[in-house]
């Protein structure tokens, strides 16, 4: 993989060179402890020292509410005029979130390609950036602390500079545009990168064992753990909304006031919502909170492994950070493994 060095003092100028490649979206501070991806007027508002944003990148490629097409009583269903979403450059994306996008690619691709997703995905350039984990991060355990693909450029902090990995042809165009700011990798950079690697590894405070977890989940299908977690869960769906890989959606038709036309839309849904598995006639396949939260864990840690060979959890820690009642995925898994009893 092609690599170059970007001195830190040149970063603002480098970001400036990215602007012709699309609308720039960067991490910004939105409150004392919260960050979000968004637009900035002033490059100094970029907050590179963030650990996680509230919402992951899915908000760009799979909108919280999205119009799918219009309908009209006389003529039926018609696709809306091709939405020309601007090209975007999303800067400062951490490895877990890049893995999140790669997992969404699996879901929205396949036999039936979701065009709403892929159109936006193809217009989003990803400039990744490495990070130091906090106490909630467990991406080393999920194997998502490092990315090899899924970015156009990836910046690793090696002290006075960034080591820039070039992942795509578009990424190569980007560094060519900023050529004067970059230099070749030298011996001291190689050593600095290795030190950074060790520093990142040693910073992890949370670890969870995912090996054999699918089998253990089958063994613990009737475990008391689910009743206790279900008792705590509010079914609010926050964990689904902030999860980089939760992709469920609900479809609904919205009518214009005149009644003759409207639009079909979809919005983020959560398998924790009470009506998620409800069918016409009133039968609910998961009427209680225990079965719903168990289903969420099973899909992430068990079902996805069967379907795609890996869990769909990327270890970002958001579900734990934002859970209103403090349900901790790491503790739940450790309980299932009988490593702890809460």
């Amino acid at each position: 993989m092609k690599m170059v060095i970007l001195p830190k003092e040149s970063l603002p100028e480098f970001i400036g060179h990215l602007c012709p490649f699309g609308e720039l979206h960067v991490p910004v501070k939105v409150s004392e402890k919260s960050y979000a991806f968004g637009r900035v007027n002033d490059l100094s508002d970029i907050e590179l020292n963030y650990t996680r944003t509230i919402l992951p990148l899915k908000k760009y490629v799979f909108k919280p509410v999205d119009v799918m097409f219009n309908f009209c009583a006389a003529t039926g269903y018609e696709t809306t005029v091709e939405e020309t979403d601007a090209k975007r450059v999303i800067f400062g994306v951490h490895p877990c979130d890049i893995h999140g996008l790669k997992i969404l690619d699996l879901v929205f691709g396949g036999k039936y390609v979701d065009g709403y997703y892929s159109a936006r995905r193809n217009k989003a350039a990803i400039v990744g950036m490495d990070c130091i984990p906090d106490e909630f991060c467990f991406c080393r355990s999920t194997g998502t602390d490092f990315v090899d693909t899924g970015f156009d450029l990836f910046l690793s902090d090696i002290g006075a500079s960034y080591l820039v990995r070039v992942g795509t042809s578009l990424g190569d165009d980007m560094i060519r545009a900023a050529d004067s700011l970059l230099r070749e990798v030298q011996e001291q950079d190689r050593q600095a990168y290795k030190r950074r690697s060790t520093q990142r590894r040693e910073s992890f405070q949370t670890e969870v064992q995912l090996q054999e977890l699918p089998e253990i989940m089958d063994l613990e299908y009737d475990s008391e753990v689910w009743r206790r977690v279900g008792d705590k869960c509010l079914s609010c769906g926050t964990c689904s909304m902030v999860c980089p890989t939760c992709y469920c959606y609900a479809v609904f038709d919205e009518l214009d006031l005149a009644g003759g036309s409207g639009r079909r839309q979809r919005r983020w849904d959560s398998c924790l919502f009470k009506d998620y598995a409800l069918v016409a006639g009133g039968h609910n396949f998961r009427p209680d909170r225990d079965s719903r939260i168990k289903n969420r864990y099973f899909h992430k840690q068990r079902g996805f492994v069967s379907q795609h060979g890996r869990p769909s959890c990327v270890g970002c820690g958001r579900c734990k950070v934002y859970c209103l009642v403090g349900i901790d995925i790491v503790e739940v898994i450790k309980e299932l493994r009988s490593e702890i009893r809460v």
Partner: protein, 285 residues
């Protein structure tokens, strides 16, 4: 299929194709058979599907829901959906005027593995609305009669007034290349000439070779359990017992998540599952 609309439709799996309800045939209380024809002639004639597959039907302004196809692919031109008025989409569907424009997309799901079923005896066991998907397989087998060995239908309803496709099925009783066993739990009218009693009672009337027979079972939960037990007792392999499952479906193409059971999407991996699938995956039945 080369105009702009068709092209856009082709690229968007969520966009329904325009179709007309060309006939409604009342069945029993709150159940109707809807005959639907695509407006696009190529689609109307060329809509290929397997028995057991389903379509997503949209009622303009109300919403969309999944329905198993009740017609057989051996009768092209129209598709038939046997629908119970039970939710908001079906309520609106029943209220549509003649020749109403609706949206259809599909077919979706795996359908019955008809290639695997051929050269075998076929036992269809239905209860209530379970006849809807099995009718497709029944006519497929009767229209490809030489490809199957014995074809047996067992269908049970609560009473004669609650039998779907009643006259069509009664007409099969004297047909010699199919064994059509119909039963009702109760008959207050006294005019019912076929069997009386629960559907499992019909097993006393047939000879079944479990090694050369596939059973397709569809019906209410209670019936499922009794029929599956009956088949197990007769030595059927769990792989030779097929069932059609129902779940909340909002996309039909394995994205929206609602029909997920463990790691199977009912809409992609089902709705037809073997009994082995069903017991191997918690939560399925």
């Amino acid at each position: 299929m080369c105009d702009h609309q068709s092209h856009a439709t082709h690229n968007n799996p969520y966009l329904p194709h325009p179709a007309r309800i060309i006939r409604t045939l009342p069945q029993i209380q709150d159940h109707q058979l809807f005959q639907i024809r695509f407006e696009d002639e190529d689609m109307a004639r060329g809509f290929a599907y397997r028995p057991g597959q389903f379509v997503m039907l949209s009622v303009i302004g109300t919403g969309e829901a999944p329905f198993s196809i009740s017609s057989a692919p051996t009768h092209p031109g129209v598709i038939e959906l046997c629908v119970r008025r039970i939710g908001h989409v079906t309520k609106a569907l029943f209220a549509l005027p003649p020749n109403a424009l609706v949206g259809i997309r599909g077919p979706y799901g795996n359908g019955f593995p008809v290639e695997r079923l051929q050269q075998n005896n076929l036992l269809l066991v239905a209860g209530g609305l379970g006849m809807a998907p099995l009718r497709s397989l029944l006519w497929y087998a009767l229209d490809n009669r030489s490809k199957f060995k014995d074809v047996i239908l067992m269908y049970g309803g609560r009473n004669p007034d609650e039998m779907l496709f009643k006259y069509e099925l009664l007409n099969l009783i004297d047909r010699t290349d199919v064994q059509c066993l119909l039963t009702v739990d109760r008959d207050d009218s006294g005019i019912w000439k076929a069997h009386k009693g629960v559907v499992t009672m019909l097993f006393d009337h047939v000879e079944l070779d479990p090694n050369s027979t596939y059973a397709a079972v569809c019906g209410p939960d209670v019936m499922f359990r009794f029929v599956l037990n009956e088949l197990l007792e007769r030595g059927f392999s769990k792989d030779r017992m097929l069932m059609s499952l129902e779940r909340n479906m909002q996309c039909g193409v394995g994205k929206c998540g609602h029909c997920m059971i463990g790691y199977k999407y009912t809409c992609l991996d089902g709705p037809i599952f073997t009994y082995w699938d069903a017991i191997n995956l918690q939560e399925m039945i």
